[in-house]
């Protein structure tokens, strides 16, 4: 009995992920947009502040992290909004599987569609802001561990602001305080690497963040979804 229930849970999660990925691939600008935003924000700094190596090299890691954080933040609004508007979310809540698993599936899909492409693009931009080889590697690693955390925590905020019109920036307000530790550790690790210090411990700590977020965030987000829908 339990065995088959688990099987059904997994296949339901797979169906949820597949639907999200398919929908996104069907409108590829959805995929490209966070990426483009990422590039644009990074680009604005040489233009708006200073194009010199002495400014860009030390600041580069931080700028990239901030840009990635903002990109993820802005993509969060889509995480549940379309599903809410067209009623998919109601149907999801009425599925017999535990809601937090389905939320987890959606968060993973969100990361695959947003965070992962950012990580892939990072080396290119890192070169443009004159980061060095070793730093680039560490930067990619921190983003690889950090962006899923951003997606998972972000899901809570997205769920809480669902019923509300123009929730976009209310979301930012709620979520940024939760993002700040990730940002601080992410950039701290990159800077430590740039100074030649060992970073294994800090990376492990970020891994712990990820584990924590994976286990707790889907529950909070599921609870938040229930609340938002009650109001719908």
């Amino acid at each position: 009995m339990r065995r088959s229930a688990m099987g059904s849970d997994l296949s339901a999660m797979k169906a949820v992920m597949l639907r999200d990925i398919k929908t996104s691939l069907r409108q590829p600008q959805d995929l490209l947009n966070p990426l483009l935003f990422f590039i644009l924000v990074v680009m604005l700094f040489p233009l708006g502040v200073s194009p010199e190596v002495e400014f860009l090299q030390p600041a580069g890691g931080g700028i990239l992290w901030v840009a990635a954080l903002l990109s993820v933040l802005l993509s969060l609004d889509h995480l549940f909004r379309h599903d809410f508007d067209d009623g998919t979310l109601e149907q999801l809540m009425l599925q017999p599987q535990p809601l937090f698993l389905l939320v987890l599936a959606k968060s993973i899909a969100h990361w695959l569609l947003t965070g992962l492409p950012l990580v892939v693009l990072t080396p290119l931009l890192a070169v443009m802001v004159h980061l060095e080889g070793n730093s680039i590697g560490v930067l990619c690693l921190t983003l690889l561990i950090g962006t899923p955390v951003l997606s998972l925590i972000g899901a809570i905020g997205a769920a809480l602001t669902l019923g509300l019109r123009s929730a976009g920036v209310l979301l930012s307000l709620m979520i940024i305080p939760l993002y700040i530790p990730v940002l601080i550790f992410g950039t701290g690790t990159v800077m430590a690497a740039a100074e030649g210090a060992a970073v294994a411990g800090q990376l492990a700590l970020m891994g712990a963040f990820l584990a924590l977020a994976l286990t707790l965030a889907p529950f909070a987000a599921a609870a938040a979804l229930r609340i938002s829908l009650s109001n719908g």
Partner: protein
């Protein structure tokens, strides 16, 4: 046969300090069609969402097969089908993909059956076109195709006749009658003049306290 599927006990719901319903109790028996009636704004949608478990903000109890619904949540969800105002159709996906995704969490359904269901709603030829390119009524039909393959004992349907043309409405009525004859239970709302023999009625909006709206 006479044990009720779903029982509502003393439901009470307020919105904006207006009481929509109070001390509302009723049972839904197998093989019955129940229609929730009332003028605009009387709380029909709200009631159906409470019954489906989408709205937690009402007081009172909902029993499923005599047990508290919270305790038997999974069994309740497995055996209930809800289609609301917004039926969960993704504009970017095709009708077929939409149905696949909607049935996946409930054991799935072979594509051939789904295609047949779509044909049954008059959408043959549109199975593989993104839904956003369908008209208002065609999009509703995609959602209704679920009814042709659903085997849940209880259906909760909110204004399913919306945007459907006259012929479609007739066919849909036949489907509902047939479903009840098979032993399924249905609770629904509609402003359409529905005629089904043996239909139960729940009337909202006549509470002494607050006449919500007197109909136009």
């Amino acid at each position: 046969m006479s044990e009720p599927l779903l029982q509502a006990v003393n439901l009470h719901c307020e919105r904006d300090h207006r009481t929509l319903f109070r001390d509302l109790s009723f049972s839904i028996l197998p093989a019955t069609l129940t229609r929730v009636e009332g003028p605009n704004g009387s709380g029909k949608t709200t009631l159906l969402r409470v019954l489906a478990g989408l709205n937690d903000n009402a007081d009172g109890q909902v029993l499923w097969h005599g047990e508290d619904r919270g305790a038997s949540r999974e069994s309740f969800l497995r055996n209930t089908l809800y289609i609301g105002h917004r039926p969960g159709i993704k504009a970017m996906l095709t009708p077929l993909e939409n149905l696949q995704a909607l049935t996946a969490g409930r054991g799935g359904c072979p594509d051939s059956a789904l295609r047949q269901a779509l044909a049954g709603t008059g959408l043959s030829g549109f199975e593989d076109i993104p839904c956003r390119r369908l008209s208002a009524g065609q999009q509703r039909r995609v959602a209704l195709a679920r009814l042709l393959v659903a085997d849940e004992p209880l259906w909760i349907l909110d204004e399913i006749f919306t945007a459907i043309d006259a012929q479609g409405v007739e066919a849909l009525e036949r489907l509902l009658v047939q479903r009840v004859a098979e032993g399924g239970s249905i609770i629904l709302t509609t402003h359409h003049d529905l005629r089904v023999p043996g239909m139960e009625r729940i009337r909202l909006g006549d509470s002494d306290h607050e006449e919500v709206s007197h109909g136009l």
